[in-house]
Each structure stands twice: as C-alpha cells, then as structure tokens.
C-alpha cells in the first residue's frame, strides 16, 4: 500500500499538472472561435449530452496551420534560432565550465554562486536591462563610440543578434552546470595517461575530455534547446519585426487575434515537435545514470 502511494504521487502530479492542462488545450484546438466568453465553441452542456459535444469538434484548425505559410516558417525559424543559440551557448559555456574545474578548490563555491546569481533577480528585469545595454544610445554603443572602435552607433536591439545575446545570456547557466558536473567527475589521471601515451594537451582534450563530458554537453544542450524553441519574452522584447518565432506567433494569436483555437493548435504542434528532444534528453539522462551505477 505504501509503495503504491509512493508510485502514485508523481503520477498524480503529472496527471494534474501536465495531462489535464494538455487535454484542455487540445480540446480548445479542436473547437471553433466564437464571439463569446470564453471565445470558442462548443461548451459542454449537460442538456445535449456528450455525443453532440464531441460531434462539433474537428481538426479544422490544424488544417488551417498548413494553409498559411506564416506558421511553418515560424516553426522553422524557431528551430533555426534554437539550434544556433544552443551551439553558441555551448561554445561559450564549455570553456567557462572547464575553467571552473581548473580553478583552485577554494574558489569553486564562489564561482558556482556567480553562475547562479542572476536567477535571484527577475528574468523580465534582466531582459529589460539588456534593452538598456543594446539600444542605439545604450551602454554598449556608448562604450564602443568612446573607445573609438565605431564612429556611428550599431543597431543591435530589435534584431536577431539581440535575440541570440538574450538567449545565450539567459540559458548559459543551464549549459554550464551539467558540463561542470561531468568535468568535475573526470579523473585527472586519465588525461595524464593520454599524455603518457603520446597525446599533446590538445589531442588529450579532444580524445578524452570531450568524449567523457559528452553526457554533460548533451544534457546542457537540451536544457537550452527545449525552452528556447518556444521562447516568447526574449524575441518580443529584444527581437525586431523580422524576428519570427513560434512563441511570438502564439502570443499574437491568443491576445491580438483572440483566436484561441488556432493558438491552441499552434501550442499542440509545438509540444509534438518538442517531444523528440525531450525523449532524447531523457534517454541521455538514463544512459548516464546507468554508466554511473
């Protein structure tokens, strides 16, 4: 009985916090818009019964998504931005994680704190701060003008560059922490053994350090990629009119068009796309757990 409860708790949790909301969204995706409150039909009515209710649901909205190029372009562009942003985050995060494992033992807690510190202020405020840094009269431009590197201010805010900066900045800790954990576990004598067997520092890094931190790299990449794909705040605050991301489209459908059923269909498709990396991520975690056992 106790075991049953122990197993049941996470499942009830999943059911309440994931499956139920998902089913509600899915139901909205199958409905039609209406000038009503809430703005869609049908609503379940005890009088007409379940049959009449189900008969009014259809896949119209999903068909609609394929008819307008905006949607698949937004999905593709989101994928592209997410992939590129993940790669940049990896390239920035790996050296930081590596440097942390090389730092003297006494410094490490402090360095770890510095990585986690940004989480203690509101995400929104931090993104607003970036607007102040990246705008035409922002700190970055003023600094570059002052040093004389540029003679006219650069347009960074409201471009994809600003979006990349925002994403890399926001999700960097999610990349650094799993890589740091993997590198920290790495036995230093393995690097010595590689050097002893004829590797230079660089090839030892390439042949031993990188493969042995692979799980950390994979975990970090997914932790960045998955939320980035549906990211809404960063592209809407830092991006421009040319920045096309599915999160932004979703928001506009919901709040500007008040077309909840289409917005719900967009969300459902996004979730389906995300299932692939989520499953891969889970598998990576499992493999890692097995390797350590």
């Amino acid at each position: 009985m106790r075991r049953f409860i122990l197993i049941a708790v996470p499942y009830i949790w999943l059911l309440a916090l994931f499956l139920v909301p998902f089913l509600i969204v899915f139901k909205i995706a199958l409905s039609d818009t209406a000038l009503a409150r809430p703005p869609y039909l049908p609503q379940f009515d005890w009088a007409t019964g379940l049959g009449a209710f189900l008969a009014e649901l259809d896949f119209e909205n999903f068909v609609f998504l394929t008819s307008d190029a905006l949607y698949w372009k937004a999905y593709l562009s989101s994928l592209q931005i997410a992939v590129i942003a993940t790669l940049i985050t990896l390239l920035v995060g790996y050296p930081i994680a590596y440097a942390m494992t090389r730092a003297p033992e006494a410094w490490r807690p402090t360095l770890m704190m510095l990585i986690i510190l940004p989480f203690w202020t509101s995400f929104l405020i931090r993104i607003y701060a970036w607007m102040g840094i990246l705008s035409q009269e922002g700190f970055l431009n003023q600094f570059l003008l002052w040093t004389g590197v540029i003679s006219a201010p650069l347009t960074i805010l409201n471009t994809n560059v600003a979006v990349y900066i925002g994403i890399v900045y926001t999700y960097l800790p999610f990349m650094i922490l799993p890589i740091y954990a993997a590198l920290d576990r790495l036995d230093g004598s393995l690097i010595e053994a590689a050097e002893d067997l004829g590797c230079s520092r660089l090839s030892a890094f390439w042949l031993v350090t990188i493969p042995l931190s692979k799980n950390g790299i994979v975990a970090g990449s997914f932790l960045v990629f998955i939320p980035t794909l549906g990211e809404f705040v960063i592209p809407s605050l830092l991006g421009g009119s040319g920045t096309l991301m599915i999160g932004k489209v979703l928001w506009e459908e919901f709040f500007s068009n008040r077309d909840w059923p289409v917005a719900a269909a967009v969300a459902v498709v996004l979730l389906v796309i995300l299932i692939v990396p989520i499953v891969l991520f889970q598998r990576n975690q499992q493999k890692q757990a097995e390797a350590e056992a």
Binding site: S189, E192, A194, D196, G198
Partner: protein
Amino acid sequence: MQTEVFAPWDDPDQKPLIRFKSVKKQFGDFTAIQDLSLDIFEKEFFALLGPSGCGKTTMMRMLAGFETPTSGSIELAGQDIGSVPPNKRSVNMMFQSYALFPHLSIWENIAFGLKRSKMPKGEIEARVEEMLRLTRLEKFKARKPHQISGGQRQRVALARSLAKAPKLLLLDEPLAALDKKLRQDTQFELMDIQEKTGTTFVIVTHDQEEAMTVASRVAVMDEGRLMQVSTPATIYEAPNSVYVADFIGEVNILSGHAKPAGDGLYAVTWADGQPPVIAASNTPYSDGQQVHLAIRPEKVAISEAKPDAENAVEGKVLDIAYLGNLSTYHIALAGGQIIKAQTANTQRISRRSFTWEDTVWLSWTPTAGVLLDQ
C-alpha cells in the same frame, strides 16, 4: 664458456639510462623526496620498495614527466629531461589507479598509444592482438573497462603500457590485484618480456617477495630517502641497516655492545646473564660500540640437546606457525626475548619433533648474521 653476469652498476664505464642527480621534491612545505641520487641502467629490472607514502609514486611521476623536481635534475640517456613533456618521452607508465579510458573498449584502450604514433593500421592491429594474447584478454577485447573484473583491468593497464614498447616502462604496483597464481605467472611473463624486448623496467611494489623474484636491483625507501640500493641477494643477506633488514623478510635483532675478538670476529654482549654471541663482520667496530646483530630465522638451528656450536642459547617453545613447507618456532629465552627459528618441513606433520612448552636449544654460526651499527 662462462655466461657474463649482468651487473652494469659495478662497471664504472657504463652510462646509466636514468640518472637522478640530488633530486628533491616538495609539495608545499612537505618534502616527498629528499636529495636523492640514483643510477638505473639499461635493461635493468629495478624495484622500488618501501612503506606507503614514502615517495615511490612521486619518483615514477617525475620519470614520466608529470612532476618536476623542486631541485636537482633527472637525465634519461644522458639528457636532462626536466623540460621534456610526458608525450615526448619514450617512457610509458602503468598507473596505480590503472587510468583506463572508460569510453573506449579494451581493444581501443590498448591501441590508444599506438594510434598516436604513425604506425600503419595493420601493424597496430597485430600489435594489439599480441598484447591481448600476452595478457590473456582476447575474450574481453570488445568490452568496456567497467564490464571486467579488477584483475582484468589491471592486465589491460599493463597491456596498454607495454604496447608501445617504450625504452623505459614504469609499473606502479602492477600486480597488486592479481591472485597469487596469476601474479606469479605475470611476474615471469614480465621477466620474459623484459628479456625479449630489452626494455628497462622500474617497478613499484609492496610485495617484497615479488621484488626479490623479478628485480635485478632493489631500492628500499623510507620517507623520501633511499635506504639501500642493491641486488636482492645483497639486500637480504647483507642489509646495511636494521630498517632494511626488518623491511625485507623476517629477522631477529639482538642489540648489544661489540668487543673485538680477533680475526674479524666480535663478541656481542646482548643480555645480562647470557653468554655473549660471536659474530663475524667485515666492518670494523670499536670496543664497546653499540651494535645490532640481525639474523634470519632460517639461519637459526633448533635442537633438543645442547649442540656443539659457537652460539647456543636455551629457550622454551612459545608458538609454532605451520606454513606448510616451513614451520616457524617462536622461542622465548630466559630473559624474555623472543627469537624466531625456521625449519623446513621435510617430514610429515606427525613426525614433528618439538611442541609447545618444550625446552630447546637454538644455535647459529658466527657468519649466519650481520652486525649493523644503525
């Protein structure tokens, strides 16, 4: 035809392969190696022996290039290797912790060093197969290190360090995890490899029997210092200090004062109420000098009646340790000292002549023990 004895260390014209020149190594303010000078010659099988923490691994790591001496220098084939990085030294090391690559199969682990050299693919394969055969790992070549036993891992580490046929091979406790039978086989294998390839071996071991079996010379270390460097036979029969005598094998120590008795003989008064024992020594001692007589248990004879010998003492059997081929008797003397005597069991157990509480006589010749002043 006389076979030449392998003893390059006795030949002043021989150039050593490795030369430690007053090497000192400090970690912070802790001195791990103090002012150590040592020559190791080509084709030697050199064993480092000493208690845990005495600096054996540190010496190996300096040879492999992972540590640099705080002062002094290390030469390999006449060249100072202080600034040569580990991957440029023709030295391979078998790590005490094995350091096998967990993401590579056994086969790939052994091939790792070969692939770094510009060896053709076919030759690499042949060499790896040869190493697998030598260490009897053919069956496991496709497995990952975490899928094999501790002893098998040790053999992989050995195969990996042997594969490149280095000029100098460093083995840090290579056989500690093997069972006795496999360890003996591997010891002979190692000696065989050494003979075939002419590689110079430096081996760290905690097992003095192993050091005696495989080594051309043995260095006994203590707290970062070399206590004695000599052939196994010399270390055993003529240790230069009580520390070395005690570290290698079992020994009885009788401490007392020497009195020259002529002809290189000394009478040692070692206990009140006991006649002095007579011992021969090449090292001269002055009258009344403090000395220690170290005598191995197997050189002490045990008999029922008082024997006709220069040194004979009476005692009582306190304990008998039966070791199969040997028996060690612990004999308590009148003054309370305990002396160990060992006899070979050439007869079946039922015929054993002494038992607990028997009064027996111990005897030995003047040349059976060594006189030591420290």
